[in-house]
Symmetry: C2
């Protein structure tokens, strides 16, 4: 469905936050959103992550991203811009083919090869490629 | 499902762009995304809008938002921050009740009453309320 230049559904919208623990009660209180699991450390990126499903299945998720130190890209984003939307993640069923498709059309990739993510293999497309948005592509379960 | 503090699905993610017409070909070329209809002027907000469905039905949409002049809030966003994600919109089946729920929990609302939007009635929640994100709530078909 999505291979070769046809994205699938939104998997998540990532929001950089100072503190996941401090933020979670407000998501429940205001919007009725609960985490699908406890926050996890994603040590290679120096961040903690927490996913909150929204709406009926298959549910797009809010991903809360909290820097674990002051050196990560996410920490710099937080210092420079404050809390807010960090990236949009879309599902693909063939990430290597999707990356070939993008390279052939001169998209600027942050990751030219799939790398491990929290839900499968992922690759990021640079915000310069299209309207200042950091796009993440995810092949669920792969890797 | 969503009334009284339980949001529904993501309806769209809005991206502020300098030019919808200049951007659309890249969405098709890179990601296979096509508009669900021609761009429309939403004169009360001084913006042009274009919606691109993503993934299978019910599809969350990318909303491209282009300022029609230099005076709108969207124009100021573009001047201050450049192109990028502007807000997240979630479906609710009872917007007046949702707003009461939020007010009772001291959320800071931009719109205390539903107002007409492109797909129904809408209200915006101030980014100060939760993690720097501008949240839009939409009751489809209402108004």
């Amino acid at each position: 469905m999505s291979a070769g230049g046809r994205l699938g559904a939104i998997h998540h919208v990532a929001i950089v936050v100072r503190s996941i623990d401090a933020s979670l009660p407000r998501y429940r209180e205001l919007f009725g959103l609960d985490p699908e699991a406890d926050p996890v450390a994603f040590a290679s990126q120096r961040v903690r992550l927490c996913f909150l499903p929204t709406g009926p299945e298959p549910a797009a998720r809010i991903e809360l991203v909290e820097p674990m130190d002051d050196d990560s890209g996410v920490a710099r984003f937080l210092a420079d811009r404050g809390e807010g939307v960090h990236h949009l993640c879309f599902v693909t069923d063939d990430l290597p083919r999707e990356l070939e498709h993008l390279v052939a059309r001169e998209a600027e990739l942050i990751d030219t090869e799939p790398r491990p993510g929290a839900h499968g293999t992922v690759a990021f497309v640079h915000p310069r490629t299209l309207n200042g948005v950091l796009w993440e592509l995810l092949e669920p379960g792969a890797g």
